[in-house]
């Protein structure tokens, strides 16, 4: 594989892969925060 093809492959797949993977992580974080929401402290509720 010549350097030109190699560089472009790394740019497209590497940058694209990084973006896509981090986008996937944002979705997962969204799911985690919905799955584990912040619960109000019991003491605070009583007050």
């Amino acid at each position: 594989m010549n350097n030109y093809v190699f560089g472009l492959t790394m740019l497209v797949v590497g940058m694209g892969g990084t973006l896509a993977t981090l986008f996937l992580v944002t979705l997962v974080i969204g799911a985690l925060t919905r799955l584990f929401p912040v619960r109000p402290v019991e003491g605070a509720e009583k007050q």
Partner: protein
Amino acid sequence: MSDAILNALGALFEGVRFLLAHGGPNLIMISVACAMFWLAIAKGVEPLLLLPIAFGCLLVNLPLSEVMAAGGVLKTLYDFGIGNELFPLLIFVGIGSMTDFTPLLANPRLLLFGAAGQLGIFITLLLALALGFSKEEAVSVAAIGACDGPTVIYVSNMFAEMNRIPTAMVGALAVAAYSYMALVPVIQPPIMRLLTTRKEREVKMPSPKGKVSKAALIAFPVVVTVITGIVAPKGLPLMGMIMLGNFLKVSGVAPRLASAAENEIANIATLFLGLAIGGTMAGPQFLTRETLMVFGLGLVAITIDTVGGILLGKVWYLLSGGKMNPLVGAAGISAYPMAARLVQNEGQRWNKHNYLLMHAMAANTGGQIGSVMAAAIMLSLLKGLGII
């Protein structure tokens, strides 16, 4: 008897003879070591790394030094912790335990800035190839765009161990990476001002939610580790160690381990890594045209990282109807928390009522994850292409 005394005296001055005969490169590197001492001590530039690197550089460049010869102290440290990539990974455990991902979990969309902030890696890779570097050298140089010293050392040393790049290049890359990380406050602000309008810089962003449950914080490092293991297994040690450090911290049940990761382990690994990297900076091997090019390309890489983040910020600004301050994009690099503080300062400079810090911290921790993810993906691609 007199001959013996003269011979003995001659042996004492052998170092001076060596310096006079072939010591030019060594003297230059000793001056470089002194410059690094000055930067670290007088200017406070990355002292934790620069001091041991500079001292290693001094030790290896003294005439007839054997510290990097077989059995020498720096060579032993190099083989023990750099040759097998152990020290950078131990530092990652420490970095993980020092990082607070709460702002990111409160505003996960900002993680995308962490991806845009890696543009410099891949553009620099193309440039390095165009300048005649081999594929492995180009990937190593491009890794400076990760803005993350341990990542650069991990990636470049992997190639050095395969004899695909010269060992001296690892030292040049490490020094370039740490120098530019320290220079982020000098490099970024002019780019921020150049690429944004005053109106954009003045955009006031609402305070983020800020609250995240402990369970989500605990699940996060585990989930990111699993995703990295599936998508980019070659980079799993990098992400795995950073997430291990964070997991120890957020779990809350192993404060001694978290403290050890953050303090003793990170400190010892930093000292030994710095010394061993300094040991690779022997004048005759270090002072090459390639080293100068590495420094030039490193600057390009970090500049393009900043440009990438800000450009995404500008697109976001347009799509959100002017609600996103594009300056936040500049924090999408791994220099934590320096880049976030810079964004906060720059935002307040143009609008005194603007508090961008939490948004910038989210983008900045996103940059940490993004840089490691980009390196992990790059290594996995290299494996897929049959290069490693």
